[in-house]
């Protein structure tokens, strides 16, 4: 039991009304499901689902040295961003471990909007503010100023279009626009955490419930909870901070080499990543499926004979593939697809096999 009362998002009352099964998610009261994880998961893969992700943090970085700060604190190349483009990036410690994985939106030159994981938003803010000391840049924690909705699924575009003045069909993946959504000032981006097409919508907290209701009332959108968010993101092999990545894992170990741009100049953790890149990381985040029955869950050990060789970071039943899938850090020589190993499932050895990832890719 936590001492502090749970934090509530601007959509809390709507979620209760819609029958959300509420849980404590890192100090936030959020729905784990409405009707059921599998139904909600399938709705997103085939039509559309709507998530409240208002617990996510928003940090504003503005000023003459905004780009300099972000280039120094992250591993992806922020200078490649243009106005109206978003980028997935790693905020790193000097050890090359993750402070957080984030999205960076370039609003204008010297004006960036950062989306952080809920549990990390205060830490990220303090970290960036400390990194910015002596620089000509303002770092602001604006997490309480936004409700965030994620409308995900192949039908997302045609459902959202009547509510907004921005031409969504012209918006490519990882682009965004400041727009009007149901009369409210919003940021709309073609991004998401489900492996499906879709949009994330940032509005003032007071506008969130109305837009959420309006989307659900179209009858074409299923409200979804954290349970489906987890099965969807895992099928798409999108990392979850605190499970698959944290302060002790580097982007190269996490198989996120595509966000490591060594050639962009110096940044936090660059020397570690350069060494890892030339020598090869000692371990890698590997996708696997269960051969035997059972679901490998976060924290289950992976063994090869008597030796413990790794640990499961995420695992679930994949509603799309209808089998048990998971991610684990494994030594490089055990990471090739087809490699067999065992997961210790409550003391019992159950066989698993490394497979190519993502587990699911949209057509």
């Amino acid at each position: 039991m936590t001492e502090e009362p749970l934090k509530k998002t601007p959509l809390n009352a709507v979620e209760h009304e819609l029958g959300g099964k509420m849980i404590d998610f890192g100090g936030w009261e959020l729905p784990v499901q409405f009707t059921g994880i599998i139904d909600e998961h399938n709705a997103v893969r085939t039509h559309a689902g709507l998530f409240d992700v208002s617990h996510m943090g928003e940090i504003l970085v503005k000023g003459a040295e905004a780009l300099t700060l972000l280039q120094r604190a992250t591993c992806n190349d922020v200078s490649k961003l243009e106005d109206g483009r978003a980028q997935y990036n790693g905020l790193l410690y000097p050890t090359a471990g993750f402070v957080d994985d984030i999205l960076i939106y370039r609003m204008a030159a010297n004006d960036y909007f950062i989306v952080a994981n809920a549990a990390n938003s205060d830490k990220d803010f303090e970290w960036l503010r400390d990194c910015a000391k002596g620089m000509e840049v303002d770092v602001t924690n604006a997490s309480n100023e936004y409700a965030q909705l994620a409308l995900q699924g192949p039908d997302a575009e045609k459902i959202l279009q009547p509510l907004t003045d921005v031409n969504l069909s012209a918006m490519k993946y990882y682009r965004f626009a400041t727009a009007n959504v149901d009369g409210a000032k919003a940021i709309v981006s073609r991004t998401g955490y489900t492996g499906e097409d879709g949009f994330e919508i940032y509005v003032a907290p007071s506008d969130g419930p109305r837009i959420f209701r309006k989307l659900v009332e179209t009858g074409k959108v299923v409200p979804c909870g954290l349970g489906a968010r987890d099965t969807l993101r895992l099928e798409a092999k999108m990392a979850l901070y605190g499970n698959d990545i944290d302060h002790s894992t580097t982007p190269l170990e996490a198989d996120l080499g595509w966000i490591v741009k060594l050639e962009k100049g110096d940044f936090m953790g660059r020397d570690v990543l350069e060494r890892e890149k030339s020598e090869g990381p000692k371990r890698k985040l590997v996708g696997f499926e269960m051969v035997d029955r059972g679901i490998a869950r976060h924290g289950y050990p992976i063994v090869d004979g008597k030796e413990e060789i790794g640990v499961v970071t995420s695992g679930t039943h994949s509603p799309t593939l209808k089998k048990a899938i998971g991610l684990a850090y494994l030594p490089l020589d055990k990471s090739a697809p087809g490699t067999q190993f065992s997961v210790l499932n409550r003391g019992k050895e159950t066989r698993a096999r490394a497979v190519p990832t993502p587990f699911y890719k949209r057509k």
Partner: protein
């Protein structure tokens, strides 16, 4: 609604007795707490179980839970349909979603379990925690 003709354990299994055989499954409250069930692991016919023994486990998308037998005896039948259709536990927990049948070794154990009214009071308290 909680069926009046069954008895209930604090760990949310029910036992429905007919003659000297008890049919065991999990309650509607338990299946709702678990969410979508994807595997049920059950003992083999012939297994001898003592009161409180682990009789198997149940995996939902969200979590895994152990199942405990609310009565002692020999397993005389196992619901084979759950291997193919584990979702029966969600859709019909007191009917087609039953798990095992046990030949009661100590029928008095059933009297120690909660009746429907007591169980409903019990889950009300659990939910209010």
């Amino acid at each position: 609604m909680t069926p009046e003709d069954s008895r209930y354990a604090k760990s949310h299994e029910y036992v429905h007795v007919e003659g000297d055989v008890g049919t065991i499954g999990i309650t509607d409250y338990a299946q709702k707490e678990l969410g979508d069930v994807v595997f049920v692991e059950l003992p083999k016919v012939g297994t001898q179980l003592e009161l409180g023994d682990e009789l198997g486990s149940i995996e939902s998308v969200k979590a895994v839970s152990e199942l405990f037998t609310p009565v002692s005896g020999e397993v005389v039948e196992v619901n084979e349909a759950l291997a193919e259709k584990p979702e029966l536990v969600n859709t019909d927990p007191y009917g087609d979603g039953w798990m095992i049948r046990i030949k009661l070794a100590t029928p008095e154990e059933v009297d120690e379990l909660m009746d429907a009214e007591e169980y409903e009071e019990y889950i009300e308290k659990e939910a209010g925690k």
